[in-house]
Symmetry: C2
Subunit: 374 residues, 2 copies
């Protein structure tokens, strides 16, 4: 019933934008090499100035015979406005990276470039899924949950979202949690300033009603309103919010975690005794770092497009790039994009049914519970 990835064979091909990250193409190629070491089934198409890229790739034996190149001269910079990129972006490495997915040459795309431009070009090149009005960016967030992470979306595709958009985010986030984290029945929370039903903005109250109506047929649990402290918490697996709030929350969390690590390092440098303690404590500290290191959970996934696009952090190091590539690989391998398309299409028709006959639609499809993964 669900389409398989368009390319056959055991190899998964990831289309990688070599340009646009803060640290340049060297770090991107290092990240590819890390991924290739861990994963024999991965192949790459690399986009950017071919001559320079061939030299970087040649230094990594593990990449030999696993990379093909697309020579592209232009680059989208961090300062380019999305509107400018929409008009002039087709000659860039970013566009070329996306086009390889559109043409079916690659199973997914990864770029460290400018988020706004990448979203604008992704919408232009890959088009939105039928039934989706606003695509969203989803990130994984270290949390107290068993799986160690929560999904949060939207974290910045669009600064606004109405109730209907928030419902779509809930559906897409639930699909992502099922495929990316293997949760059969993810718990969805709607971000607000309090958990009480009377709190927050009008569109949130509408979204609350809409999402709770679709919980059963879309096979998730709706836990209602959640607060900022639940983003790293264990009451929900998926946190739904508009792109403005989500973006601020993600960056606040990153900033707080990095301040705490910095102060921790400082406090261990404070005296001779504390330096000795830090030597003994080093494995404990590394264990902690592994758990909360943003570069290990690097990668915002664009949801709601015809194809998988992963946005790696602009300041990502090789481990960060590798982790974004791994995410694109996993999603490609699970056929996530096709499953999500099927899910959104079926829910879009249910939404129409529900609007026509609100009482009966709620009971529809409940028997499918647990059978579908998308």
């Amino acid at each position: 019933m669900i389409d398989q990835p368009r390319l056959q064979g055991d190899k998964i091909v990831i289309s990688v934008d070599a340009m646009g990250g803060d640290a340049g193409p060297g770090v991107v190629v290092s990240g590819m090499a890390e991924s290739a070491t861990k994963n024999p089934d991965i192949r790459f198409i690399l986009h950017g100035p071919e001559e320079a890229l061939r030299k970087l790739v040649a230094r990594r034996r593990i990449l030999a015979g696993r990379v093909s190149f697309r020579d592209v001269a232009d680059v989208v910079t961090m300062d380019d406005k999305p509107s400018h990129v929409m008009r002039n972006g087709k000659s860039t490495s970013m566009w070329s990276t996306l086009e390889a997915v559109r043409k079916g040459e690659a199973h997914g795309a990864v770029s460290c470039g400018n988020t706004g431009a990448l979203m604008a070009l992704s919408m232009l090149c890959l088009r939105k899924l039928p039934g989706v009005s606003r695509p969203a960016i989803a990130v994984l967030w270290p949390s107290r949950n068993v799986q160690g992470f929560n999904v949060m979306l939207d974290v910045g595709a669009d600064v606004r979202a109405d109730a209907q958009d928030l419902l779509q985010y809930a559906l897409m986030g639930a699909s992502y949690a099922r495929n990316g984290m293997n949760l059969k029945r993810p718990r969805i929370g709607l971000l607000n300033v309090g958990t009480e039903q009377h709190k927050g903005r009008a569109e949130l109250k509408q979204a609350h009603a809409l999402i709770s109506r679709f919980a059963d047929q879309a096979n998730f649990d709706f836990v209602g309103f959640v607060e900022g402290r639940d983003i790293p918490g264990n009451v929900a697996d998926v946190i739904v919010t508009d792109g403005f709030t989500g973006n601020v929350a993600v960056k606040t969390g990153e900033g707080t975690a990095s301040l705490v690590s910095e102060l921790l390092r400082e406090s261990f440098r404070h005296s001779l005794l504390s330096r000795m303690a830090s030597v003994l404590a080093i494995t404990s500290l590394l264990r902690l770092k592994k758990r909360i290191d943003p570069s290990r959970v690097n990668g915002g996934v664009f949801l709601g497009l015809n194809g998988t696009v992963v946005k790696s952090h602009g300041g990502a190091d090789a481990t960060g790039v590798s982790s974004a590539i791994k995410l694109a690989f996993q999603l490609a391998q699970s056929g996530f994009s096709e499953r999500l398309a099927a899910r959104v299409a079926s829910t879009a028709s249910l939404t129409e049914d529900a609007q026509a006959a609100p009482d009966t639609a709620d009971k529809k499809n409940q028997k499918n519970e647990g059978e579908q993964k998308a």
Copy 2:
């Protein structure tokens, strides 16, 4: 020129709501005792069921002769809606706490109760300052700045704010930073999803223009748009945002910091060696805790009212309550409320001037730089 606090003498009187916190009045009285130990000039008016409160206070020798009581039977609970409290709240300990400030019996009020109810009753009892359309709640936030903290507002007085409100938040936040953190010329940042001028919502672009126009005459530096990661950063001393975003950001930061501490504790419990390391590392860890412990920076200050109100965290322990009381004490001692009133009044007239003649108003009052503290 600036009014002194209404009560004379060297003693500062803080009006304390004994009820409404998660842990009950015992913790509130312990917090008062901690404050009284550190501060010989503090006196209290305590509101709640007098008989029970007298017993709690009698156990603390340091409080002998320093507390007067107001016997009040009713309590605002965490579940009470602000609208319900507006109609029925006048018989509660919360109302009585505020009324002591309104009547001039106390220099400031502290409550651990329901935030929405406390703001609603504060507006009803103390009234907004002339020229303020929406009061705001400001918190201190651990940061990389020299002073160790940033101010952020609004963190939840109101879920919406237009450009004019954001300007008022900037003015009030600047005053608070001058009085609370002794910064002559605070740096103000406006929270957005990126630092580029074209990003974000329409009202933020308007607010950007408004705030930068008033920076000089209101004696602050406007650093423009800042991001979530700048909230614990060092590019701005005051972060201005609407109450929805601010509330989510504060709670996300709290949640992240507490997750990191928890994982840190876990990783030190992991093996015998790491337990030994933690014994050696204990001073380093306590040093860190002291720096980021939310209970040491406990207290949201309500800005824009005729009087000082500090909201202590509902789950605050004695140290948290004591820190909220200390904040109310410091603000009362500096005559902050009166200075802020003067500042807002003068700016309100400047705003009117500026709207009438935009070009000339900008230069006005620049010579006052550094002379006024409000």
